[in-house]
Every structure is written in C-alpha cells, then in structure tokens.
C-alpha cells in the first residue's frame, strides 16, 4: 500500500525527522487560513499517489498569495479529482539529497541508497550516472548499524555538522522502514537548508501488502479509488484494475490474466477491466462477476487453468453468478484445470458454450466486442 505524501511525512515527523510547516486543505475555503499560517512563498502540493507530480503540474511553487489561490483553484477543479492539497512553507535550500531504503531481493538484505544529487528523477540518475548513487546493504537481523549511516553521510563530502545530522536522519528513516514493513521509504529531495538543518522535502512510504495484517494504522478509503468497482474489489481482496476498453477480464491466476491481457491486444481488442479471482478468491465468482458488471464492457471473458482453484468449483460459481445476476452482455468461458471435464458439463447444462483453448476464447471475445 502506497501512502500519500502527507501520511508519510506524518510518520517521519513522529520518528523525529524534520518536515516543513504545512497545512492540509480539502476545500478552497480553507486556503486563506492556510496561507496565513504558512505564509508565502509556499508550495502547493496535490496529494495524489502517482509519481512525477512536479512535471505534471501537480506541485507548484507560488511566490504570492494570489498565485497560490489560482493554483489551488485549478487543482481542485482538476480531472484527477484531488481531495487533499498540502500548502507547504518554501524552505531556503542549499542542497538537495536523495535517501531511500528498500530490499535487495538478490542479496537478501535491506538496501540503503543515497545520492548527493537529489531532487532529480532518481531513475534517470540510475541510468545516466549510476556511480552517483551510493548503496549500502543492510542485514535485517541486526538492522542498519550507526557506523554504516555515518560512513555514507561522511562519504558525501558534507561539512561535519551536516554529515552528523544526516546520519541521524538516515537512522530514523530505517526505523520507519522496519516499523511500517516497508517495500520502500524514500525522501527525495531531502533538503539541506541555508542554515544547515535537514528537512524532508517529500515523502514516499510503501507498506508491503503481505504485512498489512499487522499494519492497521493506514486503511484505504473509497476516495483512494477511481471507481466504485475498484473500491469493491479492494474490499474483497480481488486484484482489479479498470481501463476504458471493451472486454472485461474475469480470469484466475495473475500470470494467466496478464497473458490473456496481452493476447487481447495482439488480436486488436481493448480491455475494460483486469480482474483476477484465482488463489484464495476462486470461490468468489459471484462477487467477481458483480464487479465486472459495474464496468461498461461489451463482453466478459473468463479464462482459468487452476490447480487448487478447481475448475468444477469455479464453473459452479460462474453458473450461479449468471443465474443470479442475469448479465446483460455475452460471457465467454474457457475453464480448465483440476476436474475440468466436470466443469464443462456444469457450464453446458447452464446453456453456455465452453471453449477449451485460450486463444480461441480470446478471438471470440474480441469478435463479440466488435459486434461481429
């Protein structure tokens, strides 16, 4: 689960990492108050989960109140349906640093990454100047040792007092990484101010989805989802993504669903939604179809090839879902795997014409979507 900047900064602040003064507003009417508290110049920051906010015009530096008002108005009217805007004090910056902690799947360690060239797109830096990113593996049994943070802070060539402060920030960031079962914690940019203090200019915190059972503090809100169908799917724990094409996918198995997604594109079709009801969700055919029917698709394509997710159980679920929901659009099925012969019988007895070959099923769905 990816947190918003304001949530990540709230966590940073609790662990003792300095952040700029700011006020979070949900409404244009709250702006005047916020500007009085924060002052100008300030930075107007849309709270959205996508990256590259600066380039997209979603984070804007505003030297005057008038400009801040114009920008806030524009952003609240934005098609992204922005709920929260952070009005943040503009800091006097001397230097911008990059700091992040993630895991290294090959070494089986945590991984601290620091660069003296923060602020820029770190992915670009990684490609163009990889030597400018210092990497330090972290043994997760012992955690990040102070000597490691010290070494890196001094290696950057910063003045002693700044290096010592940076070391402390890095150690605090590691605490966040551990405490919140993070896939990634990142501060980019980390400001060194003209009076040599260190302040987090941005905050990224991604909590590992498999650890959410012990991370109850942050829960997803309906507002975090683009559509009602996405929210419903998330409540059920069903992986789902909505697009704006014609064919609704209701498949089982992440890899198989992704492959069907590719095959539809190869055949010239478009995707209305990606829904994956395999693994622990294989008995949720009814809920899955209910979600698929909330999406304006022209046809629903069901492809499975399950092992534990038995074909006969899924076929029964699908037949039951069709009886109850009476879908207003054609359904193409291709159900294989454990007890597949039984599954075919169940589907046929309900009047469906089950297919047995993925590519054939994909072609049929594409043809139906095109009205052929």
């Amino acid at each position: 689960m990816k947190l918003y900047e304001y949530q990540a900064k709230e966590v940073f602040k609790e662990e003792g990492i300095s952040i700029p003064n700011s006020v979070l507003i949900q409404d244009y009417d709250q702006l005047e108050d916020a500007l009085n508290k924060v002052g100008v110049p300030c930075v107007v920051k849309s709270q959205v989960l996508s990256g590259g906010r600066g380039k997209a015009g979603l984070v804007v530096f505003t030297p005057t109140k008038e400009l801040a008002k114009l920008e806030v108005k524009r952003l609240f009217d934005h098609e992204l349906n922005i709920k929260n805007i952070m009005i943040e004090e503009a800091v006097n910056i001397k230097q911008e640093i990059y700091v992040a902690i993630t895991v290294d799947p090959v070494l089986a360690t945590g991984l601290l990454m620091v660069s003296i060239e923060g602020g820029v797109d770190i992915e670009t830096l990684a490609v163009e100047n990889p030597e400018k990113i210092i990497k330090e593996p972290i043994d997760l049994r012992y955690g990040l040792m102070p000597f490691q943070a010290t070494k890196i802070a001094f290696d950057l060539g910063l003045p002693n007092e700044v290096a010592k402060e940076l070391r402390n920030v890095i150690l605090k960031l590691y605490k966040v990484f551990k405490k919140y079962d993070s896939e990634l914690v990142e501060i980019n940019p980390l400001f060194i101010t003209t009076d040599n203090t260190i302040i987090a200019g941005d905050g990224k915190l991604m909590i590992d989805d498999n650890s959410m059972f012990r991370q109850s503090r942050f829960e997803k809100q309906e507002d975090d989802y683009k559509t009602e169908a996405e929210y419903d799917a998330s409540l059920e724990g069903i992986p789902f993504i909505q697009f704006d094409g014609d064919i609704g996918l209701m498949c089982a198995g992440a890899g198989l669903t992704t492959t069907v997604y590719d095959l539809i594109h190869y055949e010239g079709g478009t995707i209305a939604n990606y829904l994956e009801f395999g693994g622990p969700n294989y008995k949720k055919a009814l809920k899955s179809m209910e979600i698929c029917l909330k999406v304006p698709s022209k046809v629903i394509l069901i492809v499975t090839f399950g092992t534990i997710a038995r074909a006969d159980v899924m076929a029964e679920g699908i037949v039951d879902a069709i009886k109850r929901l009476k879908p207003d659009r054609p359904i193409v099925t291709c159900i294989r795997g454990t007890n597949e012969q039984e599954a075919v019988k169940i589907l046929k007895s309900a009047g469906l014409e089950p297919l047995f070959d993925t590519e054939e099923a994909v072609r049929k769905a594409v043809a139906l979507a095109k009205g052929v």
Partner: protein, 296 residues
C-alpha cells in the same frame, strides 16, 4: 533423472494435519513421492495417510532420515517453520504459502543461503518431476500438462504454468522437472540459481522459463548463459508485454519500477545470448521444435 526431487527423496510434510496439508500429502503419495513423516505441533501420535506425525522437526529427524521438507503452513508462520527445518539440517525446503511478509522473506532467503539450503517459494505450487514425485500442490493426474519428458520448466506463475506446459505437451514434449519459484518479489530461490542443476541433468535437453514483467530474474538467467554457466537451449514466455507501466498486474513482483523489469528489456537480454522468447504460449512448443529438441 530429474532435479531437486525424485522417487528416492525422503520428504517430511510440515503442517501435515491441516486441510491443505493432508489433501496434498495424499496426492504426493499417489504420484509416488516418498513421504516419510509429518510435523504438526500437538498432533504427535496421529497418522495421516499412514504417515506418522511428530510435534517437532527435531523429533521427526530423530526418528527418520529426511532429505527435504514440504511446508503447508500459513504465511504468518512460514518464517518459523523454515527456520525449524533449517536448524534440523534440512537442505531442500518448499513453501507454497501465499502472503509471506516481505521482510520475513528476506530473512528466509538469507538464512537459506547461510545454511547452504534451497528454499523454493512462497506463492507457488511447488516442484514436480512428472510420474516420479512432487512437493507441492499440482494436479499431477492431468496428463495434458504433467507429462514426463525432457524439458525443464521454471515459472513465476500458477495457472499460466498449466497453460504454457499444456502447449509444450501439445507439441509432443514432456517435462523433466517443473519448478515454481513463485510470484513474490523476493522468492527463496531465483531462476538463475536452478540453471546449474538443469545443466547437470542429463535428461533435461532444454529449459523453458515462464516469466513476466517486473524484477530482473529473466535478465539473470540471460547472464548465466552469457557466462557459460548454462549452455543448453532456453526458451522463455513472458507475460505482460502490453502491460501499462507502473501498474501491478496481479503478482506483487510484477511491476515495472526504477526503469527496470519491462518485458522489452527482458526479451533484449535473452535474445542477445541466443535464448528464444515466445510471443504466445502456443509458440513455446513450436520454438522447441525449431531448436531441434528431440521428442524422445
């Protein structure tokens, strides 16, 4: 021949008395797997499918010779169960658990390396050598998928593996050993780490990798070919060619991040060392034919 598991491998089942554990233990035995004992704390004295159950791995090891441990243990308890197996000296461990916390998976992989052991999974169906033995949850009786043959298969997926393997069989081939390394971002063992085992296995004439967007495991396999660790023909099928950037497509590991992990990059890396990449599952069998791999 096969790798990792055959009829002689003595297997212990941790979590043998659970619903999944007892169900799949039966199927493992039906296929021919040499299951010698099981472990579930508090259930010592019971038998499952005629297999003795012990309270701990220590007790199991005191009473049986064990080569490998199969875990049917929930994700939250997996780290403990793996550690117990490692501390009992077990060198081959398979965990099918889906949902192991990321930081715990890092510790599991690290511990496995230190003990010189192989941990396969989680988030996988396990390992199967068709007609011989399996550790995991495969419907081995579906012959159009689990046919014995000379192709080694490694995969990050479950259902997609059935799809692709059915196409390998449709083309007239079969499988020597199939290894599900799992769909998590930090699997216990990676594609490239199994390639030396397939290289040594005389029966395996070619390896098929079923990969997807995200991570760098397919690139590591290409590196193993480049440095001569693996010299047999390799064919890959990769899901997610048309996936949108920055979007997780199902598996936690399947996301393009940091400018790394796109299917394009993987194809480039594999093609550069002479490995072939199939555009569709059905093409996998055709490419094996084109490479002149014998059908036995």
């Amino acid at each position: 021949m096969s790798i990792f598991i055959d009829k002689s491998t003595k297997v212990c089942v941790q979590g043998i008395t659970g619903k999944e554990g007892s169900f799949w233990t039966k199927h493992m035995i039906d296929l021919g797997t040499n299951v010698v004992c099981g472990v579930t704390p508090g259930r010592e004295g019971q038998e499952i499918e005629g297999i003795k159950v012990y309270n701990s791995m220590k007790k199991a090891c005191d009473n049986h010779e064990i080569d490998a441990s199969m875990l049917f243990v929930p994700p939250k308890l997996t780290k403990d169960a793996v550690m117990e197996a490692l501390h009992s000296g077990i060198k081959k461990i398979v965990t099918i658990a889906d949902g192991i916390p990321l930081h715990e998976m890092v510790l599991i992989r690290q511990a496995a390396k230190e003990h010189g052991a192989i941990v396969v999974g989680g988030n996988t169906s396990g390992v199967i050598s068709p007609k011989l033995a399996m550790m995991g949850s495969f419907p081995h009786w579906i012959e159009r998928v689990y046919k014995k043959g000379n192709i080694g298969v490694m995969t990050r997926s479950g259902s997609l593996t059935n799809e692709v393997t059915a196409m390998i069989v449709e083309a007239g081939y079969g499988v020597s050993t199939l290894i599900g390394i799992g769909g998590d971002p930090v699997p216990g063992t990676r594609f490239a780490e199994f390639l030396p085992l397939f290289e040594k296995d005389e029966e395996t004439k070619a390896v098929v990798i079923i990969g997807e967007l995200g991570g760098i495991m397919e690139e590591e396999a290409a590196e193993a070919i480049a440095n001569g660790t693996f010299t047999k023909p390799l064919v890959a099928f990769l899901g997610g060619r048309t996936a949108p950037k920055g979007q997780k497509m199902g598996h936690a590991g399947a996301i393009v991040t940091g400018g790394k992990g796109s299917v394009e990059d993987k194809i480039k890396a594999l093609n550069a060392v002479g490995a072939l990449v199939a555009e569709r599952p059905r093409m996998v069998g055709k490419l094996l034919e084109e490479l002149g791999i014998p059908k036995e």
